[in-house]
Symmetry: C2
Subunit: 333 residues, 2 copies
């Protein structure tokens, strides 16, 4: 899956700013991918990009219209179809990460086939992946893992990629979920891969590379989440991480969507390390990334200091301090 850039971000009829968070993510991490935004008359989101219609976006060089909005239910709205159709007719590919597929809308599928355009349904893998070999690959790999789902793994990975590149190093963010794929333009939605092939898909996603190159692989789920730990296990084994970063949201009272407690930090690190060392015996934790957005500054400092003492590792909130301390720690690997 390799989406042509640059993008026109489609905000559609977003009912609020949160509904456009995929578009916001793309704009935040890769503003250079975005020529403009398309907002319908009743759109209540704004990514602070030039407003463009399809004709203007094509003139500005756009190659793909990216659906950066999720409406309730994650479906493709009927109101969007004429715009998406016109985008295809004007020479754009379409990309979306919704539950139902662009390719399942008959008029879009037929038109794209006739015109030779691509429809990227990034949540739905189209490729077959091999069973994992477990063979050690060249190059280095970092994987954020979490005490829970949705606790900052993608943000941490993108921030680390950016920091390594800013320092002149070699790094590639490897997306494993739909938002990460739309942000970076490629990747594999591993939770939608048939279970036998998850580790193999991740081996494919992060292949042999230069000895000084870092693949920064997006983490998924948590080994302590009763719904998704199998996905996490397959991801860890396929990633063969040299470096692990623990991601944590300190105010969560239970695991996302289920009545299970959040694991203890040290217990969580020990199990992730045990799993990672199967396919890379040298795997080690190099730091902690906490999302302290729900804490005030004094609380955040106290929490981070306590975590630093318990683990002996650098602790950052990537949003407040950046990830410099984590990238510093990679120099020793």
């Amino acid at each position: 899956m390799n989406i042509q850039k640059p993008y026109l971000l489609f905000l559609g009829d977003a009912h609020d700013q949160l509904a456009a968070k995929v578009a916001e993510g793309i704009k935040q991490w890769h503003p250079e991918y975005c020529v403009g935004q398309y907002r319908m008359a009743n759109c209540h989101a704004n990514c602070q990009l030039p407003d463009m219609d399809i004709d203007a976006a094509v003139k500005a060089g756009a190659k793909t219209l990216v659906v950066g909005v999720a409406n309730r239910g994650g479906i493709i709205s009927k109101e969007w179809i004429s715009i998406l159709t016109y985008a295809l007719e004007s020479g754009l590919d379409l990309a979306a990460g919704l539950h139902n597929k662009l390719a399942d809308v008959p008029e879009l599928k037929a038109l794209a086939d006739r015109l030779g355009r691509s429809l990227f349904d990034v949540r739905h893998p189209t490729q077959q992946y091999p069973v994992a070999s477990g063979r050690k690959r060249s190059g280095k790999r970092l994987l954020p893992v979490g005490t829970d789902c949705s606790c900052g793994k993608m943000y941490t990975a993108l921030a680390i990629e950016k920091e390594i590149l800013a320092r002149g190093g070699k790094a590639t963010f490897r997306a494993t979920g739909q938002t990460g794929i739309l942000i970076s333009g490629s990747g594999i939605s591993v939770d939608a891969v048939v279970s036998d092939f998850v580790s193999g898909a991740v081996e494919t996603l992060a292949p042999d590379n230069d000895a000084d190159h870092w693949d920064i692989i997006e983490g998924q789920g948590s080994l302590f989440h009763p719904s998704f730990a199998g996905v996490t296990t397959g991801l860890i084994h396929g990633a063969q991480p040299d470096a692990l970063v623990l991601c944590h949201e300190p105010t969560r009272t239970h695991m996302r969507g289920v009545d299970y407690p959040v694991p203890d930090i040290l217990d969580c690190m020990a199990l992730n390390l045990k799993m990672a060392q199967l396919t890379n015996p040298k795997a080690k934790f190099i730091g902690i990334s906490v999302n302290t957005s729900a804490l005030d500054k004094a609380e955040a400092i106290a929490l981070m200091s306590s975590l630093q003492q318990r683990t002996g590792l650098p602790v950052v909130d990537p949003f407040r301090q950046g990830v410099g301390a984590l990238v510093d720690a990679l120099a020793t690997l």
Copy 2:
């Protein structure tokens, strides 16, 4: 997936006895499901059932022709089609666990649709499963786990089901792979389920039950196999086992298909227990099942005695001693 019984076992043109091992498994565990076997002129296997053609099998009450043979590549042979077609025309459903599907053979699909017959491709789930809830279910569950793939988990599970039923207890074998599904007539091939839904599929497979009922869930893979540990993790979490049995093949020098060492028994038990206790804090190992077929009697006794001393648990080879000692241990749970 619920396959109508009894079966006509189709051995086709099996090139040796091993090629018919699925049929052998069905005959071994459920001879009462089998009215007879169908062997083509060049068949080199024999399950010691009455030889029957389709007409005789229908007359004997058969409801389903089960493809109990795997040819090289696991495909549906062209030479079989006229026989399978005649079986459909004669009122039989078809079931197979091959890589390619009965339903992908156009003449079989069209004929089955026209006649209202069912084609069971047991390796390929057709149903959608929910994301796992992690909710504790009523009834009791046992799960065999392994130091490796293919080390006796299905055999152990079937033997335990049989022993509990023979003692007048309540037990149901829950198949999670294609051979187990064909042997028992129902189940879910979990390694073919999309990774996000593996634990949910297993929750569906082994639902709430009587307080004194045992679901004996077929294990898959190994937490120490770099290709399949994600499947194993999802299976363990969905199973919520009260009782774990470690299955082990003592002469294996490396993990199946990969250049990885077989784990230490105690290390393997500790990690499986850690995983199982996430969704069932009371999970415990109740015994060890070893496949000593490659050892002579003295070697087998020495090995089992050593394992018993190291683990403090009953150790059986189900083929040599049966699983009575394991079922005895369930009485305390």
